[in-house]
Structure formats: C-alpha cells, structure tokens
Amino acid sequence: MARYNETEFLICLAASLMEDGATAFIGTGIPMLAAALAKKTHAPNLVAVFEFGGTGASLERLPLAVGESRTFHKAVAASGICDIMETAQRGFIEYGFLGAAQIDMYGNLNTTVIGPYWPPKVRLPGSGGANDVGSHCWKNIIIVRQHDTRRFVPKIDFLTTPGYLTGPGAREKAGLPPNTGPYRVVTSLALLDFEPETKRMRLIGLNPNVTVEQVKQNTGFELLVADHLVTNPEPTDEQLRILREEVDPDHYYI
C-alpha cells in the first residue's frame, strides 16, 4: 500500500509553497490543511487570513469552514469581511489560494456554471471570495485536484475569477492592481507556473512517477514546458505524521 494518498500529497506540496511570516488568504479544504501543516512545520509564523474576519489564528485545531470559530481562535484580530477584503485590496495579503471546476491557459477560473449562464447545465456555488482573492492578492496559488481535460480547458464556460485574462497587460487594462495574478497551479499530476513574458501556464515540476506526456495529454490547451523540470518532493514521514496525528486527527478531510 502507498505511503500516502493523493490528497495528502497535494496538501504537503501546497504547504511547501507557504512562506514563514507571510500573509495568506485561506479558503476551505486543502488550503486550510496546508496552512495548518505549514504552521506546525516550516512556517510557524504564517499569518492565516480568513474572509469573514479571522487574522493570525493559531490553527491548533483545523477549521471546518471559513467563518467558524477556529479561524479566529487565539487570533490577533477578529473583524469582518469588509475589513479583510479591503486589507487585500490595499495590498497586504501576499498569497491567495483558489480552486476551480475549470481553468484555462491564463489561469482564469470558473466556479459559477457549466454550460450557458442561465439556465445553466450545472449550477456551481459561484464566486464566493474567489474573485476578490484572485483580484487583490499578490500571488495566487490554484489547487486543482484532478488534472484532466475536463478541468484544463481551452475556453472556460464562465470567467468567475481573473487569472491573466487575455494575456500580458490585460489585468492592468481591466483596472486590476498591477503585478498581481496567478503564481502556481498545484494538481494531481504536476506543479505549474506562468511564463513571465506570455503569462501562459507552464509545467515546472512533475509529481512522482508522472511523465510530461501524461500532463500534456490531460491538459486541454497547449502547455509550455520549462527547460529544467524538477520532480516534486514526496511528503516526508514527519509531514505525514503531523498531518495525520495533529492537523486532521479525525480524518475529516484525509
């Protein structure tokens, strides 16, 4: 049996992207586990920010929702959504974490509908805070659990959250804050970034036992590939122990 499952791998990879002492806008699911793991390992001073008002919570216990009491347990501040979103709008939040049902080559995200807008084929939850996080945080990290051509598409059905929109300069032209945008994409197959000149998605790291071909076959648009590819690190036994015993002992998520 494998030493870890895919979810555990993604959590550890996402956690490794979290910088000690940085502010990070944390959403439900993998980002919460990654933030909690990071705080218990290499980034004890990570400042987790939650959209409904929690800033700098201890994350001793894993939150089950973005507004619940553990998002501000022993926090340095507990305010409200306007204060948090305006803090992001003023440029104080370094990292954002986003998920998506569909993503395109510029990192634009869809969490609103599959099919036409109304009436839709599938009605998804909607933007929630994603559009705001994607608009205001400096570096956005996108987590897509299944890397396949249903999710990595040439054209998303609905542009819920801005990536680089139509390419270089498009965010600024739209009035979004300069020098912001998607930073990394973490998936079941690989780690990707966005090539600085073209702002197009680029493969930079392969998960263990994954080939370039596999990633390309599961991506619905032409993918750039970095000259030097790394293999993404496997979770250490210590990371897995902390994740299983301290972060999510009730196996709520994992």
């Binding site: 089950l64 929702a65 619940e68 998804l124 805070g129 559009n131 542009l159 739209a174 009035g175």
Partner: protein, 323 residues
Amino acid sequence: MKILESGIGELFQPPDPDGFREWVHKHKNTKMVPKVMSEQEAIARFVKDGDYIGTELYGTVRGPMSLIRELVRQGKKHLRVAGQGIHEIDLLLAADMVDALDITYIGWEVHGISHILRRAVEPGRVKTTEWSNAAISWRFKAAAMGVPFIPVRSMLGTDTLKYSAAKVVEDPWTGKPICLLPALYLDVGFIHVHQADEFGNCRIEGISGFAFELARASKTLIVSTEEIVPTEEIRRYPERTIIPYYLVDAVVLAKYGSHPGEMCYRYWRDEEHLLQFYKDSADPDKTRAYLDKWVYGCKNHDDYIEKVGIERLKQLEKMIGGR
C-alpha cells in the same frame, strides 16, 4: 467620468437612498421601547411576500436559523434574496419561496455543491445575478453609508461582472477603470447575536462577518439572540454595541438559535445534523421529509430545540473552543 461597461445582470433591488431615508423617517422609532417578541410575531408582522431579504453570517456560522425556520413555516412567497450562504438558503429554496437570487456563494464548502440550488436554478425557476463575496458585503456597506453606490476593485475583467448589475467607470482622479457596485438595501434583514437588551442594542463575540453593514442596510431588522442582557450592562461598555437599538424592529430570544450551525464561544456546529441534511438534500423527497420533521413539524424554536435534545446541545457546548 466615462462608463466603460455595464453588467447585464438584472438589478433585483435598485438603490434608493432618498426612499430609504423617507422610510426610516416614517417607520423607525428612535425612542428606546421594548421589542422582545416571539419569532412567530416578528415574521408575521415584518415580512411580506415579495420582500427582498438578507441573512447574516451564514448557514453553519452564527446564522439566524430559528428565524429562517419560522419564515419557512409561515411560507412567505416570491422572496428576493441576497444569496450568501448554505443551510439557510437551501431551506428557502427547498420550500420554493425564492424568485430571485443575488448570488455570490451557495454551497457546502468542502462537502460539495448545493443540490437544492441546482434543482432551483437549472430548470430556470429561480433567477440569478452574480457578485463576488466582497461585492455583496460592499453593497451592504454602501447602503449602510446611505449612498447609492461604492467603488471597488473586484470583479473587473470577468464574467462575474458581466452577469452582475455593476458598472465600470473611469476614475476621474487616476484615469484607471474602477468598478461601481449599486447599494443593496434590504426590506428585511435577519441577524443572530450573542447578546441583546430588550430595546435591541446588540453585541457579537468573535468575528462580526457583515453584521455591521447588513444591520444598517435593512429597512426592517429582526434580531435573534442567545440571551437578553440588562441595558445597564450595555451602557457599561458602549463600545461593544455593534447594532444600536434604533436599527432594530424585533428582538427574539433564541438560545441555540444558530443550530445546526455554531455560535462561537457558546456551542459547536452539529456536524452530524448538517451532513445528514446535505446527504438528504440530494433527493427531493428526503429534502421534503427533512422540512416536515425539522421545520413544519415544529411549532416553534423551543419545540425544535426539544426535538434536537438538550443532551446533544450540551455536547455541542462542550465541543466549542474557549477564549
């Protein structure tokens, strides 16, 4: 100041600051009078078919669930709703009480998407207009300020803006594009708080979500509270009053009023109950059965609490984190 783009979404509740002022002047009582009443009386007196309503915080966190259940019991129709939530919006949609949603997020977070939302919107039964989460709160903030719109930097360049009723204009100072959101005034707002006095002065512990803004954006405000405290206590720490009495039309005592959601520092979410509902909500008949048991099948909140069982609630109190 050029208008660069206008969202094509329907504006379900156009901003009218002067109309709001006239309404306040005519209907709000600035005298401190007792407003404690039952949820039945509050909903019956203050909510009409076709009203535009909003709730705070959301379905699993300090939500006014006892008020929502009473709203469903009284079967108000053709509501227009500020759609930010989970369990509370699911109940209204399941009971077919909603015609239009200003939607930002209706879903079950990590558990998955809302089956009930899908059944309401995919057949074209409920109309939707899109907003970001901050945008909905900022629309309340604009209303709370008493102005018709508010400039923000969200939604720009996206379909979220295209299918909203926002506008993009050229900022006369920087010359850059900026998004203007129309103020969102509620006919009736619902908020559950930790403490209130009989006049409606309210306190909230922990995060305040968008309670400050929603309370001030509501023509009529119905508050439910975990406990009623003496006004002397309110006056001792006036800086802790987040909702002053003159905003409030009804104070409903509702201990455990947020159940099955949590109330910070008081009781933890009833995860079993929530997951069961989410599972049942995939099936229309089971959804109906849930409503029959937990909403229509309860005379009032006390009855609901009895059905949940005090032992269970005491457990949830033990499970919540302290200071």
